[in-house]
């Protein structure tokens, strides 16, 4: 059996609940800590991550499997395609695709939807260094996902991150009125609450039957 057999819907649910990219793969922690301070920034960044992660995963999948992967260029004449090895550039290409996509989206939004640009514009540039997006691309390669699986994974991971950051923003707003020990304020207490959240999300482990 190969991974092609899992339905994209299953992957989507798994990426949100059972295998949350933040709570089980720790990706996107930096922006999670920084942007969960306020609810509105959390919403903005969460939506931006979801959007970018979905589309760049699709783009990266196509580029990886049609250009970079071993044997992808075998249609080239004279066995040239088999001799070119581009896999090593995957990481750079992924970053470049993410950065370029973010740029393009920013320009398009600025031009056609100033309201959206106002809402998301601040967060788009930050995404380039959000490791969740790059992480999704790398996991997609390691796990050998097909196109629709990869897109579902990208979308689900974005939603999972959005969910976690929203919960955390709500909690941190409430924590402002708690007398947290001084050394724990900010980063420390956020990490501990994330730990409680990660424990609670363990309940979903095994919810998705992959067999």
């Amino acid at each position: 059996m190969n991974p092609g057999d899992i339905s994209p819907l299953t992957i989507l649910i798994a990426a949100i609940f059972t295998n949350n990219i933040l709570l089980s793969n720790y990706l996107g922690m930096c922006s999670f800590i920084a942007l969960s301070r306020r609810l509105d920034t959390a919403v903005g960044m969460g939506l931006a991550v979801t959007f970018v992660s979905t589309f760049t995963t699709a783009l990266n999948w196509v580029i990886y499997h049609r250009v970079l992967a071993r044997g992808a260029l075998s249609f080239l004449p004279g066995g040239l395609g088999d001799r070119i090895q581009l896999e090593i550039f995957a990481l750079i290409v992924f970053i470049a695709v993410i950065a370029a996509f973010v740029q393009v989206v920013e320009m398009v939004l600025e031009r056609f939807s100033p309201a959206m640009h106002q809402a998301l514009g601040l967060f788009l540039p930050l995404i380039t260094v959000n490791c969740a997006i790059l992480g999704v691309a790398l996991f997609m390669v390691i796990r050998g996902y097909g196109f629709f699986q990869a897109v579902a994974y990208g979308f689900g991971s974005g939603l999972g991150w959005l969910l976690a950051v929203l919960l955390m923003a709500g909690l941190r707003r409430r924590l402002r009125f708690s007398t947290v020990p001084r050394g724990l304020e900010g980063v420390g207490i956020t990490l501990i609450v994330t730990g409680i959240m990660a424990m609670a999300f363990m309940a979903f482990a095994g919810m998705v039957r992959i067999q």
């Binding site: 709500g170 009125f177 708690s178 007398t179 409680i196 424990m199 309940a203 482990a205 095994g206």
Partner: protein, 358 residues
Amino acid sequence: MRFLARLLDRAGERVKKSPAAPLYPLVEAVNAALFSPDETASRAPFIRDALSTKRFVIAVVIALFPVLALATWFYGLKVPVMLLVAYGTGAVVESVFAWFRGEHIHEGFLVTGILMVLIFPVTTPLWVFVIATVFGIVFGKEVFGGVGQNPVNPALVGRMFVFLSWPALVAPSAYPEPAYRLFEWYSPAADAVTAATPLLQLKTGVLPPDASLLQLLWQVKPGCIGELSSGLLILGGLYLVFVRVVNFRIPLGMLAGSALASGLLGLFRPMPDLVGAWLSGGFLLGMFFMATDPVTVPATRVGKWIAGLLCGLLVVIIRALTPLVEGVMFAVVLMNLASPLIDEGVRALQRRKEADHA
């Protein structure tokens, strides 16, 4: 210290101001801190009785005392010993933190300590129980500044940690059959008889034919210490609702939520009997005594309904769709974690409505 005093002050003011005096200062303090004052006065009219934290604690202890007494009858001396251990550990940890902060120990731990005992099976080794208590108090309460400031139920935080750490030692497969053991010390060697809990039987679909709902209600059944008798839990819970220590919206929401989830999932797969699911496992204990903890639920009225629904939904989903047998613990914590967000959402909607009216 000054901060707490300020909170209590503000709560006190509101007691004087409104005819609907606060339920207990702590909730009020948190409410006051979360709401801006002008918003709250109109939105918390369901609080009718002036109760101090002490009276709240006493009410919960009264409600849970019969359960503890019955558990001692059936599980033996280990139950009161566990209670002493919980209080002892709690006192040490709390006084260390209180000393650092320069505060007094809070009587709120009386409740956490009892709950701590009730959510473990009697088979739990004492060292595991101590670790759970310490972890729960430190990471569930003290890091947030102590009683009344914790976003999640501290007892459940401790329970989750040991559940994930040593699943075999606290798992449902180790629950012993209740039998008369008063004045005996429970030991796994002497009491090797373990029994499948009704919940496990419901899950695997092999509920024995003689187990009617009435029996689930009145008979004692294997499980965690506090799950011994559904009847006593219902009586205790109703008492708390009756004296208005517990808000009725969360329990009702949970019942509705679990019914909804059970019905929806029932369209696709066979589901265990709904009332049976209510009466077995930790549902009642969680519903009346955990999920209702006033500091960890939404402050808005609509928010309480939503939180209850969510919790009920999650219980059924976790019980039905994951390999876990019991889902109440996780469901309550997930609900706690979502509570501030629910409040934010409800308030945003209310603000929008008011803006429309104006």
